[in-house]
């Protein structure tokens, strides 16, 4: 078996074949790694920087962060609530841009926008936004400065070490809270 493989290697065609196989595996792995590091495609190219720059609060579109586990993603009616009032589009002086036409299509069809969540944790992790906001954290502490990104992307590798780093640092002087925040059952159940 080994002998056959060696004789096959001495043949130039065999070497080329081996090179192609190696390149295929390597590029496949590289592409797989690349896809884990890129933001997923969204149905609408929503510019976060523009909205944050205009002074819209994070909690206006993601109100769940303030009171429940999931921050929530806005519905088409919430977007349209503001956008239908923009007079330069309403009186026809400026044509509706392509992305807003997509939004209008969703509103006209009365269909929800299928936003793709970007900051996600696995199924066996139960994250709750409310206590984090209540503890005085701001959105940008975990989600990065949204005034600098257009379509949402995740600046942070959200793994357990990263969670516990903060949980440890913030509970140095409170053993009871430390027990709670380092407990497996707080997130995994």
């Amino acid at each position: 078996m080994v002998k056959r493989f060696m004789s096959w290697l001495s043949d130039p065609l065999g070497r080329i074949g081996l090179l192609i196989a190696f390149l295929a595996v390597f590029s496949g792995a590289a592409f797989g790694l690349y896809t884990t590091q890129t933001a997923p495609p969204q149905p609408i190219q929503f510019p976060h920087n523009l909205h944050v720059g205009l002074g819209v609060q994070c909690l206006y579109c993601h109100p769940g962060a303030y009171r429940q586990a999931s921050a929530g993603l806005p519905t088409e009616t919430k977007c349209w609530g503001c956008h239908q009032q923009l007079s330069k589009y309403a009186d026809g002086t400026v044509a509706l841009p392509a992305e807003l036409q997509k939004l209008k299509a969703y509103v006209d069809a009365n269909k929800p926008i299928q936003w793709v969540p970007v900051a996600q944790v696995p199924d066996f992790v139960h994250f709750n936004h409310r206590p984090h906001i209540a503890a005085g954290l701001n959105c940008e502490n975990c989600h990065g400065d949204m005034s600098k990104v257009t379509v949402a992307e995740n600046p942070q590798v959200m793994n357990m070490g990263w969670c516990l780093e903060c949980h440890r640092a913030r509970t140095v002087d409170n053993p009871e809270k430390r027990n709670k925040l380092l407990d497996c059952g707080t997130c995994h159940y």
Binding site: R67, P122, H126, N128, N179, G185, H188, Y189
Partner: protein, 247 residues
Amino acid sequence: MTTELKIPEFSANFAESGQQGKWGMAIDMDICTGCQACVAACAMENNVPFVGEADSGYGRSMHWIRTERFWEGEFPEIKMTPYQPMLCQQCGHAPCEPVCPAFATVHSQSEALNLQVYNRCVGTRYCANNCPYQVRSFNWRDFERPEPLPNQLNPDVTVRRRGVMEKCTFCIQRIHRAEDQAKSEGREIADGEFTTACAQACPADAIVFGRIDDPESAVSKLARGSRGFHMLEELGTLPSVTYLKAG
């Protein structure tokens, strides 16, 4: 940085080094009719899969709570013992914990419960073999949930995959939800504010759930009564579940 791992060790005097529970349950065997409503409710709440006939035949059935019954005497002169719902006793000194090589079954310091960390479990099944109550169940397969059954999965509970041990959690997702709600309103959890799925479903109210460390809670009052006993008490596992004898 110092490590904070508390590695449990076997010891002959279990009861002395054990931790008293925070949450507890009292089950009245005199009231229980063995209707299995708790079993069904638990399976729905906690995404317990349907194993099917073939695998059940191999003893691989999965329940976090089951209704036990025993016979006394020979057929047809059978005397039935009272029905006894059997679930994880959330031992203060649990035999399952020290045997796990992966630290997947650990004791919660804050909630005083026996946890099963699914993402850590490698499926050695030591814990189930060491459980005197036989209440742990193992995912021998990725059991099928044909459409539209996936729609009834509880999003607050992990859907376990093949090769993972699981058991009753005292509905820890409900505990967390109630704690979160109470904290957001700046108060303590009131007794009876929430309960586990089995206790909620019990038509006869035979199951009472609450804070066992609060002497004024309903469950503490029941557990203190003369009818109360712990299952296999002589093992010194300090169960958090108190059974009330049929009187």
